[in-house]
Amino acid sequence: MSSKPDAGSVTDSTALPIHIRGLTKKYGQLYALDSVDLEIASGEFLTLLGPSGSGKTTLLMAIAGFNRPDAGSIRFGGAEMVLTPPHRRDVGMVFQNYALFPHMNVAENIAFPLKLRHISAQERAERVAVALETVQLSGFGERKIDQLSGGQRQRVALARAFVFRPRILLMDEPLSALDKKLRERMQIELKHLHDQLGVTTVYVTHDQREALTMSDRIAVINYGKLVQIGTPEEIYNRPANAFVADFIGESTLLPLTRDGSGKLSFEDQIVATAAPGDAAGDWSLVIRPERLFIVQGEVANPDQTLRFSGVVRDFVFQGESAFAILSVGGHYELAVRFGSTSSSSRPLLRPGDSVSLGLSREDAIVIPGQGEQ
């Protein structure tokens, strides 16, 4: 595969980094994107995560070129792209509703970008076959789009997006129309495909679990602003503020009080000796429900454990785990999740039971702000 300068010049896709600076887009008075700075490394799988209307799709569409920002810079590698029309950006995209061409069959859909790039019929056929094999749809080339299931359409859309070896792949909630089982399987498959292709991927979702499953890094977006960016572990274990703590995973926020020396405490227990960073303002304690454990008698290392006692208000068995809501200190609620151990030794709680809970100090997350409670 060496000397084919015209057709085969795009032999191996070299992934490109994306540099976004000061990207701003206003709709009326509303900022859809408020001076967003974002560095996406070459070959990275980055997820834009946020609630609907947060600006994540606007950002993706700006990268694809369907959305003209008011200001800012989008660079692919060294090249400024913000003024480049979408058809010259050379990025693959999987649309939310797949956007497969209904008047073409599966093979014609996948060959579409190759035809536009004047790739010979023979190479086109070869590459379509390889793409179909990659998404496990070999032999589906002659099918009509309306003869495919949702999952199959998803795969065709994916094949069409990477068959022309783009250096960047964008995905706009590609799994949201699939049922839960299929979605979870496709998450793993997409991840594998990304590893295989090595292409820089920007993925939009509002599903935090999906983001945690698939991403190298997650960029949390709210009100058009980048709230936090980090690996799934960082985002989950060290949320930057109440919004991230609440949006990613389950959490309980307890307000902390601060004394004169800067010590933060909840109900007479000192949680942190000095408030991190800017000491002014309110602080909260974030507790992940699954990090709490039931304490009977004394704990092994009392110095390293925060203690809470409360009364069970609700208890729900959910299959792989069980979930309880406790009333703590009179007017706080605390959510607790227990892993399901063997069916006989499952901790059985009933509403009204008094329970003592422990939380390892390293699992205590202190964040600025008080949440919306």
Binding site: P85, P86, H87, R89, P102, P113, L116
Partner: protein, 302 residues
């Protein structure tokens, strides 16, 4: 297991008879809703058209005859009338497509509310009388009409141009009147095209022109075919506008029928013309259905 529908001992067939009877009853009820329409069709279409057929085979002496159809084959003027009819209809359809496609496209890309407003400008003439619109064109296009006066005043041409009582005038008037019949189905089809498809085409490397011809246009084609057929078929039997704006120089089948009735009072010959036009129209529709999978275009079936 070969389940017999009639055995009502079998617990698997509990109430089966009663349920089936209920289903049949419901279907009959639904069918009965169509009764008034069916009666209307019989009264105002089937019977008159049948009568037309009958008349076309009756000679002047009241005896059954084929003379009317023979005349159509022997006299060249009849053939010319049919050629003119198809020519004018085809040209009108083409003019409608040329004007209507960009218009429908423009409406389809507008935001819904604005599109409604602009659509009103297409529909408003549609709601005024056909005769009024036709005579309005006469006023505009005649020798001392607005258009000629204006153009001469502007120095565009010096002597009045003949814009009416000929093919040009007929085409202008017919295209204007037929335009909504093309724009409405076309607009409907275009609205249904997912904007993301055009985005996807661009994303895959298609320039706006390529995206239009490779994705948008093929998807709008069913709507265009449906609209064009409606226009074409309506044109075939059009009377008022060709009669007024053609000024007797554009002889189409409908005008010819009137002429025969006025001059010769020959019901048989007039009926025969009507029958041939009807059959020709049916052939056009059948051919179009075969060629273009019309059921998809007109009824959205797959």
């Amino acid at each position: 297991m070969n389940a017999s529908n009639r055995g009502n001992e079998d617990p698997a067939l509990l109430n089966a008879m009663a349920l089936r009877a209920q289903a049949v009853r419901e279907q009959r009820m639904l069918l009965s809703l169509a009764t008034p329409a069916v009666l209307c069709v019989i009264a105002i279409i089937v019977i008159p058209v049948g009568w037309l057929f009958y008349l076309s085979f009756i000679g002047g002496d009241g005896q059954p005859t084929l003379e009317h159809y023979q005349k159509m084959l022997t006299y060249k003027s009849y053939a010319r009338v049919f050629v003119t009819t198809f020519q004018v209809s085809l040209l009108t359809t083409l003019v409608c497509i040329l004007i209507g496609y960009p218009l429908a496209y423009f409406l389809a890309i507008l935001p819904q509310r604005l599109a409604g407003l602009f659509m009103l400008t297409v529909l408003l003439p549609f709601w005024t009388s056909l005769l009024v619109r036709t005579y309005a064109w006469l006023v505009l296009l005649q020798k001392k009409g607005l258009l000629n006066d204006f153009a001469i005043a502007m120095g565009l041409w010096e002597t009045p141009i003949k814009l009416v009582y000929n093919l040009t005038g007929t085409l202008i008037g017919m295209a204007h009147i037929m335009l909504p019949f093309l724009v409405l189905p076309l607009y409907g089809a275009m609205r249904k095209i997912d904007r993301d498809l055009v985005h996807a085409a661009a994303n895959l490397g298609a320039s706006p022109v390529q995206a239009f011809w490779k994705v948008y246009f093929p998807l709008s084609l069913p709507g265009m075919v449906a609209g064009s057929l409606i226009v074409f078929v309506l044109c075939l039997g059009f009377y008022v506008t060709p009669a007024v704006l053609g000024g007797g120089r554009v002889m189409m089948v409908a005008t010819q029928i009137t002429a025969i009735l006025e001059n010769q009072f020959d019901w048989g010959a007039a009926s025969a013309l009507g029958v041939v036009l009807l059959i020709a129209t049916l052939f056009v529709l059948i051919a179009a259905a075969r060629l273009l999978k019309l059921d998809v275009a007109l009824f959205g079936k797959r």
